[in-house]
Amino acid sequence: MITKKTVDHLGWLARIKLTEEEKEKFPDQLNSILDYFEKLDEVEADVSPTHHVLGLTNVFRDDVAGQSISQEDALGNAPRKERGYFKGPRII
């Protein structure tokens, strides 16, 4: 059961600052979706999980450097940068 408090915690885990309005509205919506998911409780699924359908495991290539984008291109979309680096908010 998802309460306003759960939504608040999920917002923190996902790093999304939710508005009061969203915290009021989301619990009912999310609970009705979770109720629908309860359907799966009735299935006996004593099988291995399918992560994707191709059954591939590790795919390796030779360790040879290929082409990549330049530092200038990589920084081209950065809203804030400094001396060739992405600039983030202060940590401490």
Binding site: R15, E22, Q29, A45, A74
Partner: protein
């Protein structure tokens, strides 16, 4: 507007530049809101180059629209989300490299539900796209702009992406042909990820032949996608006017509760028409179908909650005024950058993956996915295609369903099982409910696009849709 028609126009003396000009003129006066970003300069430059040096490649001089979730070097790509506002990719997706290598002309980026999460193209930050058959109705989603652009005669070809029906749903609602390839046939390099284990880039066109041609261009091995596979044949060459070897399975679960009567009738009409053309059919059962929607939404939301964590405004996209502390800065960017449906799915995905719930939701969904996949493999042993309605009903009104998330999710009932099983599926027009098109879904074995395209082709040529 189709590829043969354009080639004829060009052979009769029309220049590619004139063609491209007329397309931009049409789009600028269009009410469909199918395109969200136009690549006017680069398209006209490429058009003049083709006029000067001649049309080369499989798509020489042919205009195409690209869903806003596919990276295009130098052309803004935003997944129709505010969080990617202003983002201009420094590289092309694999499919874009292939299109350019074959001479296609990229007209612009098409409208979609934000991050491909939707069935109606109403959650786009650029406003809803509209259905060319009735402007008060949705074109379907999430690749609604691509389907509307083709149906509205703005471009002959378009690319979409399909995670749980996002190519086939709008193809059905707009009366065009749309294909979701087998998982692994088309490289996902450069596709902005929503749910990696489910999605594929897929072609749209006004007819089956053009879809096969576009699939020929975009499919094949790419080392930059570790799930990429080598293709086995050339699809256009495999189109023959013969379905005498086609054994159709009709899964009863796909004609269940909630399917509009007119839709059911039109699809059965299509199956009988194929029988008259030499195919045979049997009614079959895919017993785990009823769990598909729950399995799909748990997996898609879980993958999304992880994928979308990368949008933090640090390397690209939305950044707000002055930075605050680390967590507050990112929490506020995501709060303002993501729309409501995206937030809902990230929150639920976060919940499904959190300690204590992982086994109940995510792991359980992956196990039931195995059962659903086995259903398809078993059914496709004695049959080589399955036929169902693509969507349970024709296009609904803009605003009609957007207030009820769960009701909207239920519309995907016939499309999501296909992504869970990873098999290919094409939606082809099969009739009308009033003035609204109806789509018939033809599903095939893994990597057997040739048979479903051939079935769709024969249907289309002999009085289908």
């Amino acid at each position: 507007m189709n590829v043969d028609g354009i080639r004829e126009m060009l052979q009769n003396g029309k220049s590619v530049e004139e063609l491209v000009h007329s397309i931009f003129d049409k789009i600028e006066h269009s009410k469909l809101n199918a395109f969200v970003t136009l690549a006017k300069e680069s398209a006209l430059e490429e058009a003049r180059r083709v006029d000067k040096h001649g049309a080369k490649g499989m798509l020489g001089g042919i205009p195409i629209g690209i869903k806003d979730s596919i990276s295009t070097k130098g052309i803004q790509t935003t997944c129709c989300s505010k969080i990617l506002e202003g983002y201009v990719p420094p590289y092309d997706a694999h499919v874009i490299e292939r299109l350019k290598a074959e001479g296609a002309i990229i007209i612009g980026k098409t409208n979609m539900d934000e991050f491909a999460m939707g069935t109606s193209t109403e959650t786009s930050r650029f406003g809803p796209a509209r259905n060319p058959w009735d402007l008060s109705r949705v074109p379907g989603g999430s690749s609604g702009g691509s389907a509307a652009a083709v149906a509205g005669g703005e471009v002959p070809l378009a690319l979409g992406s399909d995670t749980g029906g996002s190519v086939r749903c709008p193809a059905s609602f707009c009366g065009v042909v749309g294909l979701k390839p087998t998982y692994g046939l088309v490289s996902r390099y450069g596709l902005i990820a929503y749910a990696n284990s489910l999605e594929q880039i897929g072609p749209f066109a006004g007819n089956v032949k053009d879809v096969a041609l576009l699939l020929d261009v975009i499919s094949g091995y790419d080392s930059r996608d570790s799930t990429s596979m080598t293709k086995k044949c050339e699809y256009l060459k495999e189109l023959k006017d013969d379905v005498s070897d086609v054994k159709i399975g009709v899964p009863k679960e796909f004609f269940g509760e909630g399917i509009d009567e007119k839709v059911e009738k039109a699809v059965w009409g299509g199956i009988k028409a194929l029988e008259d053309m030499g195919a045979s059919y049997t009614e079959i059962s895919l017993p785990h179908t009823k769990y598909s929607l729950a399995v799909y939404y748990i997996i898609a939301m879980s993958e999304a909650s992880s994928n979308l964590a990368r949008f933090d405004g640090l390397r690209y996209g939305l950044r707000l005024g002055k930075d605050k502390d680390w967590h507050t800065t990112f929490s506020e960017i995501k709060a303002q950058g993501f729309g409501e449906e995206v937030k809902r799915r990230i929150l639920l995905g976060t919940y499904a993956l959190s300690a204590g719930y992982y086994g109940k939701y995510y792991l359980k969904a992956l196990k039931v996915r195995t059962l659903i996949k086995r259903d398809f493999e078993f059914a496709l042993k004695d049959t080589n295609v399955l036929i169902t309605p693509t969507m349970p009903f024709p296009a609904f009104k803009i605003g009609e369903k957007i207030g009820e998330p769960l009701a909207l999710y239920l519309a995907d009932v016939n499309t999501v099982p296909i992504n869970l099983a990873g098999v290919p599926s094409v939606s082809v027009p099969c009739g009308f409910a009033g003035k609204l098109p109806i789509g018939m879904q033809i599903i095939g074995r893994h990597f057997d696009e040739a048979t479903i395209l051939r079935t769709a082709y024969v249907f289309e040529r002999n009085g289908g849709g």
